[in-house]
């Protein structure tokens, strides 16, 4: 377990079936099996000016094959949360309370999992919150991988991108140099990089922003993780490139039965690409549930305000946006009651004094934290139709 050179030691107990993607063994849990359970997690930074609780009492679950979005503005704690879930917070000056459990890797022949070979409780405690870095290393890359926000700063500027991809394969899966290179080029092809052999030898600064993000994704995918944590993967990219990257992530998620945690500030990114979303504000979950329930049946006024202040293409020009007065809360100085109360038009005295806890709605898995929630609404059935292709309906005259 402590020797990273022998891949069979990475995953205790189930090492026999550990195999790279491409063999007949494939790893996936039965649908709906919980993969990641976050239970009452808080992250506290100990600073010279006192303790700062950036993330407070977060609980949610990510099931296998599920895409969960975490949405929040700056200061909502979403980035701290994603680092906490990875166990990537610095070891000094940070305390993580609560428990973060990963399901152990479940290996079976393709299809076997559905035939009853489900371990009774796949969530046998890999406890991220209390794990040593040496233990976390056995999970990183192989079980859970991360796509970072800014590929310019998160790729090593003095290493060829090929080496950065194959490194994980060589160190974690014990591949030979030649095999790792072959696999890395395969990965570059999969993430849609043209002339991958050439790009293998490129340095990050020789690639465009979109290409760099594709490389980031290839690095994250290299060791076949089951959970991909994508922290603002498309922020700073152009719209057409953003669409390419999101489509790529979705495609890979389906192909490899991954679970994806998509952290973003952009409601547009999560609207059509997630199964469930978690809305964060002031370091807490203020609403979570199935994506459609949250978009159409939200109960928390913040969710409503966020939706209404987002400009829409379907708005006519000069249409007035609904605004949220004030600005996002200062995490150093949170109000005693509901963090959103100072900006909320429905706030009462109680909201300022007492913090609301998450409360279930009649929709399954849909929770909100509010003393004066919006009235319950029925979520309309999905009506989405995929649009026609460009070029087919073009008019030629």
């Amino acid at each position: 377990m402590s020797d990273p050179q022998t891949p069979n030691n990475q995953i205790p107990e189930e090492n026999a079936g550990m195999a790279a993607r491409g063999s007949n063994k494939i790893t996936f849990l039965p649908p709906d099996a919980p993969l990641l359970r976050v239970d009452n997690v808080s992250t506290t930074f100990h600073t010279p000016r006192g303790d700062v609780r950036a993330v407070s009492n977060i609980s949610f679950e990510v099931r296998s094959n599920e895409v969960v979005g975490i949405v929040g503005e700056s200061g909502s704690g979403k980035t701290v949360l994603s680092r906490t879930l990875m166990g990537l917070q610095p070891r000094h000056g940070v305390t993580v309370d609560g428990s973060i459990t990963f399901a152990k890797r479940y290996v079976a022949e393709r299809g076997d999992a559905i035939d009853g070979q489900v371990p009774e409780n796949p969530l046998v405690g890999f406890e991220v919150a209390r794990a040593k870095e040496s233990d976390l290393r056995t999970v990183w890359g192989v079980e859970v991988a991360m796509v970072f926000q800014d590929p310019m700063t998160s790729l090593n500027p003095v290493q060829r991108v090929g080496n950065q991809i194959s490194e994980g394969l060589r160190v974690r899966q014990g591949m030979s140099k030649a095999d790792a290179k072959k696999r890395a080029i395969e990965l570059l092809t999969q993430v849609g990089i043209p002339s991958p052999e050439e790009r293998y030898r490129a340095y990050p600064n020789q690639l465009s922003g979109g290409m760099r993000q594709r490389v980031m994704i290839a690095i994250a995918l290299a060791c076949n993780p089951r959970l991909l944590l994508a922290d603002e993967p498309t922020t700073g990219l152009d719209v057409t490139i953003q669409a390419q990257i999101l489509n790529l992530l979705e495609d890979l998620q389906r192909r490899y039965h991954m679970s994806v945690l998509l952290v973003t500030h952009d409601l547009g990114v999560v609207a059509t690409r997630t199964d469930r979303i978690v809305v964060m504000y002031g370091g807490r979950v203020v609403e979570c549930g199935n994506t459609r329930d949250v978009f159409y049946g939200h109960r928390m006024p913040y969710t409503e305000a966020l939706l209404k202040s987002t400009p829409k293409i379907s708005n006519s020009s000069h249409s007035r946006l609904q605004t949220i007065p004030g600005r996002p809360p200062d995490i150093l100085n949170l109000p005693p009651g509901c963090s959103f109360a100072p900006r909320c038009s429905y706030a009462t005295e109680k909201c300022h004094q007492e913090r609301p806890e998450l409360e279930a709605t009649e929709n399954e898995g849909h929770f909100f934290a509010c003393w004066n929630p919006l009235p319950a609404r029925k979520t309309p059935p999905a009506t989405r139709s995929d649009a026609s292709e460009i070029g087919v309906d073009s008019v030629r005259d």
Partner: protein, 336 residues
């Protein structure tokens, strides 16, 4: 530009604007010949992806970037001919607001002095009159001058800094504002506040706006007309409602389909624009978009498409527009 708009008064007239940069021995044409007018009191949105030249265009209009060729006329003054003091005087009529609100304000100056800078620079007002102007401006942009006037710029958040930038840009009562990605660094809730503020002030001061941004939804919400730019040239320009409903240029359509709506029922376009823009060092022959266009033919490679009019003020530079050209409404050479 279009005869049907002749009843409106043109404030800014741009003809054949070109900006070229030398890179070693090669020449990058960042802006490769733009013709457009901005009418008094309207907002023209300028969208495009990074590197398309939209920011350079804004800077060239202010002559912060020296245009290689072309003319820019503000009212009756041809500012591309001006130099020195006359140019600076003309620039008073046009102000620019930048993307990064925090770095575009000097962190060690007081808010009051930042806003008063243009006034002091032009010695436009002194003493009590100056104080009153600053007080009014700060109040208008939603910053209480009694509480915040003497604070330093570094003490403010991005949204507040952008408010201060707006106040400063309005100090000399300009006719026109050029906003370069002014809300793209802000949180959604703050972005909405700034956009609404901009609309209010535009009304109150009778401003004309050039709104440069990459976010199509934001541009739609503030603009009367929108121009779409690709590799230094306009693909399409037209009234925003018309153009967003019926994009005529394939690139516009791709951009719109790639834009993400905060709505789970919004249509998903699985066909996205492939690849990335070619290098402006070596733009494709003919139509610059043809290398990524699914409809491209040999004609597109050989001939640069001219701007043609589709309907009132809606023009497209494409050999095969997605919307039929109304021959009757498009007299030859409608564009300058």
């Amino acid at each position: 530009m279009s005869e049907t708009n002749s009843d409106k008064k043109v404030l800014l007239e741009v003809r054949d604007l070109r900006v070229e940069f030398r890179k070693g021995k090669r020449v990058v044409s960042a802006v490769a010949g733009l013709d457009f007018d901005i009418y008094e009191g309207e907002t023209l949105g300028l969208v495009g992806e990074s590197g398309c030249g939209k920011s350079t265009t804004g800077r060239a209009l202010m002559l912060i970037e020296q245009p290689t060729a072309g003319t820019v006329k503000l009212g009756d003054v041809e500012i591309t001919k001006l130099k020195g003091r006359a140019l600076r005087a003309a620039r008073r009529q046009m102000q620019m607001i930048f993307q990064d609100p925090i770095s575009s304000l000097n962190p060690r100056r007081r808010v009051k002095d930042i806003v008063a800078e243009p006034i002091d620079c032009w010695r436009a007002a002194k003493g009590e009159e100056r104080e009153k102007i600053i007080f009014d401006l700060l109040t208008k942009v939603g910053i209480d001058p009694r509480v915040y006037g003497n604070r330093y710029a570094r003490q403010f958040s991005g949204g507040q800094c952008q408010r201060i930038s707006i106040a400063r840009s309005l100090a000399m009562k300009p006719q026109m504002l050029i906003c370069d990605e002014m809300v793209s660094a802000l949180d959604v809730s703050i972005q909405a506040q700034i956009l609404n503020l901009l609309e209010d002030l535009k009304e109150e001061y009778g401003l004309t706006l050039l709104f440069i941004a990459h976010d199509l939804a934001v541009v739609k919400n503030v603009s009367d007309r929108v121009a779409v730019m690709y590799l230094g040239k306009f693909c399409e320009i037209g009234p925003s409602d018309v153009m967003y409903a019926e994009p005529a240029h394939p690139y516009t359509k791709f951009l719109l389909s790639a834009a993400l709506e905060a709505d789970p029922d919004s249509p998903r376009h699985d066909q996205v624009l492939e690849g990335e823009p070619p290098s402006p060092l070596d733009p494709p022959s003919g139509c610059r978009f043809r290398t990524r266009c699914p409809n491209a033919t040999e004609l597109c490679a050989s001939t640069v498409p001219e701007m043609q009019t589709l309907s009132d003020g809606h023009q497209v530079a494409c050999h095969f527009p997605l919307v039929p050209v109304r021959r009757s409404a498009a007299p030859a050479g409608a564009d300058a």
